[in-house]
C-alpha cells in the first residue's frame, strides 16, 4: 500500500531561518502519526507544505503516491482527500459568515445538493455532540470547544482520508482536551482515516499515535514507533524533552 504522505528532503528557508532543513518521513495510510518538537521547530511549516499552502525550496512531497502540484485543479482534487484542522479553531471559521454558509460552501465545492450536505452534516454534528442549532450561529457566538468541533465537522464533511490537526489541544483544559482526543480517536476507529497530529504535548502523542517524529530546528531529530521512541529514546534531545515534561507522577520534586 502506498504511504498516505511521503516527504523526502524537504527544505524551506524564511530569510535566515531554515524552517525545514532536509525533512524526510513517510506516513502509512490508516495510522496516526505524531509530530512533536519545540516551538519554531518547523512543525506548522511542514504541515503547510503538505497542504500546498507553502512552496518548498527543495524536496518532494507525495500524497497517496502522487507528487504535490500547485495548481488550482490539483488543489481542488486534493481538497477531497486531505483536510487540515488549524491550530486556532475560532480563527479558522470565517467570522462574518454563519456556520451554515460555511457548510454550504462545502456542498458547492462537492457539487452536492445542499439538502444532501445538510443530511450528512446532521449526522456528523450529532456524532460530534453538537446541537443542530449551531449552524445558524456566527463563529463568535459559540464556545471555543464548539468552534473546534465545527471546524472538525467541516473538515469531515469533505470526506477526507487524511486529516492533519495542528496543535488540536493547545490551550485547552485537561478535561476538554480529553473530550476532543476521544473524539478524534472515535473518528479514526470508525472511518479508517489517516490522522496526523502536530503537538508539543508528548504525553498525548505517545498515547494516540502509532508513529512519531521529534523535530528541532527544521530537522527530524528522531522518529519511529512511539513505544520505542518514548520508551528508549536514542537522541539526547528527545531525552531532554521527556525529562522536562512536568508530570503529576513526578510529584514532590519541587
Amino acid at each position: 500500500m502506498t504511504d498516505a504522505i511521503s516527504i523526502s528532503n524537504a527544505q524551506l528557508r524564511f530569510g535566515e531561518t531554515a524552517a525545514l532543513d532536509g525533512v524526510s518521513l513517510s506516513i502509512p495510510q490508516g495510522t496516526c502519526f505524531g509530530i512533536v518538537g519545540e516551538s519554531g521547530s518547523g512543525k506548522t511549516t511542514l504541515m503547510r507544505a503538505v497542504l500546498g499552502l507553502q512552496k518548498l525550496d527543495q524536496g518532494e512531497i507525495r500524497i497517496l503516491g502522487n507528487p504535490l502540484v500547485h495548481s488550482r485543479a490539483a488543489l481542488k482534487q486534493r481538497a477531497s482527500f486531505i483536510q487540515p484542522i488549524f491550530q486556532d479553531p475560532a480563527a479558522s471559521l470565517s467570522p462574518r459568515s454563519r456556520i451554515s454558509t460555511l457548510m454550504n460552501e462545502v456542498g458547492t465545492v462537492l457539487r452536492e445538493p445542499h439538502a444532501a450536505t445538510h443530511e450528512r452534516l446532521r449526522v456528523i454534528l450529532n456524532r460530534l455532540g453538537l446541537p443542530p442549532g449551531v449552524i445558524d450561529k456566527y463563529p463568535h457566538e459559540i464556545s471555543g470547544g464548539q468552534a473546534r468541533r465545527v471546524a472538525i465537522a467541516r473538515a469531515l464533511l469533505m470526506k477526507p482520508s487524511i486529516l492533519i490537526a495542528d496543535e488540536p489541544t493547545a490551550g485547552l483544559d485537561v478535561s476538554v482536551q480529553g473530550d476532543l482526543l476521544n473524539l478524534l480517536q472515535d473518528i479514526r476507529r470508525s472511518q479508517n482515516i489517516t490522522l496526523i497530529v502536530i503537538s508539543h504535548n508528548l504525553a498525548i502523542v505517545r498515547l494516540i499515535a502509532e508513529n512519531a517524529v521529534v523535530m528541532r530546528a527544521g530537522k527530524v531529530v528522531e522518529g519511529g514507533e512511539v513505544g520505542s521512541l518514548f520508551g528508549a529514546p536514542r537522541e539526547d534531545y528527545t531525552r531532554e524533552l521527556l525529562a522536562a515534561w512536568p508530570s503529576v507522577t513526578h510529584s514532590g520534586a519541587g
Binding site: G40, R206, L207, A209, P246, S247, T249, G254
Partner: protein, 329 residues
Amino acid sequence: MAISLRNLSVDYTLPQGTAHALRGVSLDIQKGEMLGLVGESGSGKSTVAFALMGLLANNARVTSGTATIDGRSFDLTKHNATAALRGRGMAMIFQDPMLSLNPVFTIGTQLCEVLRRRSPGSDRKTRVEMAEDALAKVKLSNPGRRMNQYPHELSGGMRQRVVIAMALLSEPALLIADEPTTALDVTVEAQIMREIIGLRDRIGCAVLLITHSLGLVTEYCDAISVLYAGEKLESGTVKEVQRRPGHPYTRMLFDCEVPIDRERHADASQNCFTVIAGDLPDPRQRPPGCIFNGRCDVSFEECAAVNPGDYPVGNDAGHSARCLRLQTP
C-alpha cells in the same frame, strides 16, 4: 504568614446581568513558598490575581475581600487599594511574553522604568547597572547588549526572562505568575520555572502560580488551591492533596491529567482519555448546594441543597476541602 487573602468576591457587570466571578475565596501563602492556583478555564484564577493587583477590568467590582501583605492590611473593595504596592510589594508576570513588553522601547528602558519606582532616588547609571545585573541573574547571555535590544529581537523564552528580571528588580513580597509558561515549550518552561524558583529563593518572596497544568503544580509548588466556578474547593500542601484529594473535583482533575508514562494500549486508537462530563454552571445564577454538584460522580441528595463548608481533610491542618462527604457527623 506573608500573604493572606480573605473572603474575596468579585462581580462582573455585563449587559445580560451580573456575573459572580469569585465568591468568598481565601488564600494563604507563606513567605518563600509557592502556591499553585489551579482550575479550569474561566474558574476565576486570573480574577484573583487582578483583584490583588488592583488591575481588574472596568466592569469589575470587588464586593468583599481583604488582603494582608507583609503585615499590612488592605481593603480590596476600595478602588486601587493596593496601588502603593504595585512594583514595590507585589509584582506580576503575565502569560504571554510576546505581548507583555512594549515593542517600541528597548529592554533596558522598560527595566529602568520599574526601577524609577522601586528606588526613586537612583541616577540613570545605577539603574542601568541594576537592570543589567538583573538580566544576568536570570541567566540572559550578554546583558549589556540585551539592554539595547527590542523585544522582537529576542525569543519567547528570553522575553519571559526579561519579564522575570523585571519582577526581580521590584523585589516584591508577593510575586504573582499568571500562566507564565503556557506560550512556551516544555524545555523553556522548565527553565523559566527554575528562574522563578530562583527568584523566590533569592528574595524570599511568596509566589502565587496560576496555571491549569497540574503537572507544573505538582512539580514546582509547595501548596495548591483548587478553584472551580469562582469558588475555592480545596487547598493544602501539594503532597497531601495529591495523595488524598479531599474533593471529588480535585480527584477528577488529577485523573484527567495525562502522565508521560501512562499505560499505553498497543493499538493506539484504543487509548482513551478521562473527562469530567458536564459544563461550568452559569456564573450569574449560582445553583443551591455544592457548586460542583451537577458534574460530581459521587454526589448524593443533600449535595443539591446544602452548600458545604470548609472541612479539614485528614489530620493535616493545612489541608481542607468543601465537600459534604468530609462532614464529620
